[in-house]
């Protein structure tokens, strides 16, 4: 059986701001994948030895790499923002003392945890800096 498929352009999301922000969120996956691949290449260079790793480290300091990371940072931060804002919908109902935890409380707690985790990671690296 052949069903009717309504024609749709690939640019349907451009006119409505809600859809545009949806696409920005979805685009974050490209940057998260690229960042994971970059770390994977770094790991491969590390396994190859000192010279290869130093060349990789040098490439991270190039202007293009820094710009890439600033853009990636913005996309990952937006992904985190949306991720925590939909948490009341993606989590099963959270109950505390027989009452449902309000949506706002879940979002605030989650964003607070992310800020705390980020500060903890940075302080750990800073503490063990050379």
């Amino acid at each position: 059986m052949k069903t009717y498929v309504r024609p749709m352009t690939a640019w349907w999301w451009r006119r409505n701001p809600f859809y545009r922000w949806y696409m920005v969120r979805e685009a974050s996956c490209v940057f998260i994948t690229a960042y994971a691949l970059e770390l994977l290449v770094g790991l491969a260079r590390l396994a190859q030895g000192r010279a290869a790793f130093e060349a990789w480290r040098e490439s991270l300091a190039s202007p293009g790499a820094v710009v890439f990371h600033v853009v990636t940072l913005a996309f990952v931060a937006y992904h985190a923002w949306t991720w925590f804002n939909v948490m009341p919908k993606t989590l099963p109902f959270v109950r505390l003392g027989g009452r449902r935890v309000p949506d706002r409380m879940i979002v605030v707690t989650a964003i607070g945890s992310a800020v705390a985790a980020s500060i903890a990671v940075f302080l750990a690296v800073w503490w063990y800096r050379p």
């Binding site: 749709m8 352009t9 690939a10 999301w13 696409m23 979805e26 974050s28 996956c29 490209v30 998260i32 994948t33 960042y35 994971a36 691949l37 770390l39 994977l40 770094g42 790991l43 491969a44 590390l46 396994a47 000192r50 790793f53 130093e54 480290r57 991270l60 300091a61 790499a65 820094v66 890439f68 990371h69 600033v70 990636t72 940072l73 990952v76 931060a77 992904h79 985190a80 991720w83 925590f84 993606t90 945890s113 992310a114 985790a117 980020s118 500060i119 990671v121 940075f122 690296v125 800073w126 800096r129 050379p130």
Partner: protein, 119 residues
């Protein structure tokens, strides 16, 4: 009835989404901006000796594998679902391609973490 593999891939997507939401911005800032530019952290924070010691350490191996594998599963899964938004009708081939890419990356990370050795 054949069991669906959807819960596995959605869990890996969720794990990667949660990990990247919690510490993703901090990791990108540290490894991509602060250390390479010597801003707030010295450039030698990611020297060969220190990164080798990190990759040989048990905690370091677990952290590196979790970040690389889960970020890849998250990103590839979302890209796969994005194809629909651009009018590409997905089938088993594309599903295998995107999820297979993430699996290959995770396996490569595990092999490399073994290859760098142990303390």
């Amino acid at each position: 009835m054949k069991r669906s593999n959807k819960p596995i891939f959605w869990s890996l997507f969720g794990g990667g989404g949660m990990l990247s939401a919690l510490v993703g911005p901090a990791l990108v800032f540290i490894t991509g901006i602060a250390v390479p530019m010597g801003f707030l952290l010295p450039r030698e924070t990611m020297s060969y000796e220190r990164m080798l010691a990190f990759a040989q350490n048990g905690f370091g191996k677990a952290a590196a594998l979790a970040v690389i594998a889960l970020f890849l599963f998250h990103g590839c899964h979302r890209m796969y679902h994005c194809l629909h938004d651009f009018g590409i009708h997905v089938g088993p081939g594309l599903k295998a391609l995107f999820h297979g890419f993430a699996i290959a990356g995770a396996v490569a990370a595990a092999c490399l973490l073994t290859a760098v050795g142990f303390p």
